[in-house]
């Protein structure tokens, strides 16, 4: 109540209201009070569109660069549009075609497997890393920065570096051969399954530092008294980690899970740089974004069909987002 008692008259009115009805004022009362205050001070304008005016710049950007392209994609997905050739309405033909296309299913499975493997790694490994670098020991700042370096490195540079590490005559294979661990080079980049695994390693490596920063922020909010109390009660470091750290950063874990799932579903660069334009030998390592690019780009690009696959990818992303949301709701309740 104090926050609306900005003037003497307002304060008096509140006091009067409080005498009559104990407890907080009802909605009608609040409206009346605000109205009086507004008239009195002349500061509060109640034109309904005032807040929209403030939102307008942001809204325009969202509508132009997010909403409009999205709606356009939905419409395109119902046409047989091509590059520089407006299409005619074909209903759900593109969706039917996608569902009957083996390549679509291959890309879908690759995307889902990619997400299922990458997400747990990106939820737990950065947490472990954050717990490590959170300790206040000399020189820890260097490690914090070092772990964050892959995040700011360009995806192309990262891809090229890993290509040199993983190729048949690259660093890893040379070491393996020198140690006589393998007789033939491991086909990290020339076998479709191994290529996906290699791309996953790169994604996880690049994401570690990024999500570590999220966890560092969350860990900063855990009261040290909890750890001290647990230590007095005889809890060891492992027990303290699972009984205090994990429950307190759980909301952050769900956020990281959702964010990393969305970015894993959108993976393209790692596969493109490691596996070439075809998406690995025979194109067997293609993910959904890779397929969308292949189908929609180029001068013979089928924009309509690519838009339909984009919408299907969007629905898949939505599933993972809703899942994350549900989990966090369940956690709150």
């Amino acid at each position: 109540m104090a926050q609306i008692a900005g003037t003497d008259r307002g304060a008096a009115t509140v006091a009067k209201g409080a005498d009559r009805v104990p407890g907080p004022p009802g909605a009608r009362e609040t409206r009346r009070l605000k109205k009086e205050l507004g008239q009195e001070s002349g500061l509060v304008h109640r034109r309904w569109w005032t807040p929209y005016l403030f939102l307008l710049p942001g809204l325009v950007l969202v509508v132009l660069f997010s909403l409009w392209p999205f709606i356009n994609t939905v419409i395109l997905s119902l046409t047989d549009a091509q590059i520089l050739r407006g299409g005619g309405f074909v209903g759900l033909d593109n969706y039917v075609r996608a569902l009957g296309d083996d390549t679509f299913w291959l890309a879908l499975v690759n995307s889902v497997v990619y997400t299922v493997v990458v997400v747990p790694c990106l939820v737990f490994l950065p947490l472990a890393l954050a717990v490590l670098v959170q300790k206040k020991i000399p020189g820890i700042g260097f490690f914090r920065s070092a772990f964050y370096t892959p995040v700011i490195a360009s995806a192309v540079v990262v891809g090229l570096m890993w290509q040199w590490i993983l190729r048949s005559d690259g660093l890893v294979n040379t070491v393996f051969e020198k140690l006589r661990l393998v007789s033939e080079p491991v086909p990290f980049l020339t076998d479709s399954t191994m290529l996906l695994v290699s791309a996953m390693i790169v994604t996880v490596w690049k994401g570690l530092g990024y999500y570590m920063v999220f966890y560092l922020a969350a860990l900063g909010n855990v009261p040290t008294s909890l750890y001290e109390a647990a230590a007095i009660d005889g809890a060891g470091p492992v027990r303290r980690f699972f009984s205090i750290t994990v429950p307190t950063v759980k909301p952050m874990m769900l956020l990281v899970g959702t964010l990393s799932a969305i970015s894993a579903l959108r993976v393209f660069t790692e596969i493109y740089i490691l596996g070439g334009e075809s998406g690995g030998p025979g194109g067997d390592s293609r993910t959904l974004p890779f397929l969308i690019r292949q189908v929609g780009l180029g001068f013979a690009g089928e924009t309509g069909y690519a838009a339909a696959i984009s919408i299907l990818l969007f629905l898949l992303t939505l599933v993972f987002s809703v899942l994350g949301h549900r989990l966090s709701k369940g956690d709150e309740s």
Binding site: W68, N72, I75, R167, P281
Partner: protein, 447 residues
């Protein structure tokens, strides 16, 4: 319902309607084939024209600006507005501009972008703009800008980069091969690669596997009919093509090609420069890279004419200058495109970088026939490339029907076959089936 609520609903409805209508523009607004009429020349060379080049700044700024200045001096009523766009995203920008009706008056096109814009009726017929100009260009180059099923020629040929053969003399000789007897057929090329691999001991490879850069050229050189006679279906599934796949598979397994080159070939110069590859880059431009980055390997480089097999000549791939069909200044645009691609200007450009003129008079310049002492790879490459270009013919070019989508589909099957995951016959049958499926779909969408 309150008045405020009503106005909110009406504003939201208006916004949604605007949004939907503009969104729909993205679909239908791009329109079908451009119905602009062929421009008519007025006889007066004047006006402001825009000119777009592909990645020529800053290396060639002085040259291009010089050409523009000289043109403006000759035609003082013309103002040329030059814009250079980097290679990355060039095609995407072109498509976006074409979609928005904002194509430049004179625009630098490669084979792919030319085909798209000409097919969509966005380029002027330059043969109609200037019927006498044809004789100025090498025949193969001029014919490259005709489109099947369409009357006319839709761009002025500009500079060319021919295919040549380069190899490391020392590694070649080490394999027991005569450095002066280069392979002339694809089959012979494979035999040489086999001999090289036998002697390499795994230290170096013979050539890059990447089927994307080898096809359909290798098949054409082996006499494989890529398309049927009516040119309405692919017909490359032949015993000769099976032989190609089998040989590639065998050589790949033996280590004749770097394993990763099956999916990527972007480090050819790097591997060649590091003595890890016997057959080097097949373009004169790359020889300059080797000279700059690996002088020791450059000294060991032998240059020969490209493998042409049963065709006996190379194909011709030129950059070109297209004139926007609905340009407001057709006289100035056509005159300028002709000016940039004329003999003296193309020769001057070729002296700056390892490219060749598509202009017949330009190509006849003594600069291109000078072999020097026959020992410097760069000079030799220039002379051999020019000789090849005089006989270049379109039948060695990738057919227009072999679009990137079709090429990708075929390459994917070939990669599996070369790796030994699928047998050659099955892979070829599937590749042909896929290619014909895409071709039929593209034909259906064109109607």
């Amino acid at each position: 319902m309150s008045r405020g609520r009503l106005s909110r609903i009406s504003i939201a409805t208006a916004m949604a309607a605007t949004l939907l209508s503009t969104a729909a523009c993205g679909v239908g607004g791009s329109g079908n084939d451009n119905d602009a009429k062929q421009p008519e020349k007025s006889g007066k060379v004047s006006g402001e024209i825009s000119f777009r080049t592909l990645q020529l700044k800053p290396t060639f700024t002085t040259y291009v600006q010089g050409v523009i200045d000289a043109f403006q001096k000759k035609y003082p009523d013309v103002k040329v507005k030059w814009e250079d766009v980097p290679g990355d995203g060039y095609n995407e920008k072109l498509v976006a501009d074409a979609q928005a009706g904002a194509l430049p008056d004179v625009v630098n096109l490669n084979t792919d972008s030319f085909q798209l814009l000409a097919d969509r009726g966005m380029l002027a017929d330059v043969a109609k703009l200037d019927p006498a100009v044809q004789k100025d260009y090498v025949p193969g180059a001029w014919d490259q800008y005709k489109l099947p099923g369409k009357e006319g020629v839709f761009a002025y040929p500009w500079y060319v980069t021919p295919e040549i053969l380069t190899y490391n003399k020392d590694l070649f000789a080490k394999s027991g091969l005569d450095i002066n007897k280069p392979p002339t057929t694809v089959e012979q090329f494979f035999d040489y690669a086999e001999k090289i691999t036998e002697k390499s001991g795994g230290k170096y490879a013979a050539f890059m596997a990447d089927p994307k850069s080898r096809l359909p050229g290798d098949w054409q050189k082996m006499g494989v009919p890529v398309l049927n006679e009516k040119k309405d279906a692919f017909s490359f599934n032949t015993p000769k093509a099976v032989e190609w796949v089998e040989r590639m598979k065998e050589l790949y397994a033996k280590g004749a090609m770097p394993k990763e080159s099956l999916t990527k070939s972007d480090d050819t110069s790097q591997l060649y420069g590091a003595d890890k590859l016997v057959f080097g880059p097949g373009s004169p431009g790359f020889i300059r890279d080797v000279k700059a980055n690996a002088p020791k390997v450059y000294a060991k480089t032998q240059v020969q004419k490209a493998v042409t097999g049963v065709l006996g000549h190379i194909g011709i791939y030129t950059q070109s200058l297209g004139v926007r069909k609905d340009t407001k200044s057709p006289d100035a645009a056509a005159e300028f495109a002709k000016w940039v691609t004329n003999g003296p200007n193309q020769v001057a450009f070729s002296k700056e970088v390892a490219i060749y003129p598509s202009n017949a008079k330009g190509l006849a310049d003594p600069y291109f026939s000078d072999k020097g002492d026959g020992k410097d790879p760069e000079t030799l490459a220039r002379a051999l490339g020019a000789e090849e270009l005089k006989e270049a013919q379109l039948d060695a070019n990738t057919p227009v029907e072999w679009t990137s989508q079709i090429g990708d589909a075929v390459v994917r099957e070939m990669q599996k076959a070369v790796k030994g995951e699928v047998d050659a016959k099955t892979a070829l049958a599937k590749a042909q089936e896929e290619a014909n499926k895409i071709l039929a779909q593209q034909a259906k969408q064109k109607k």
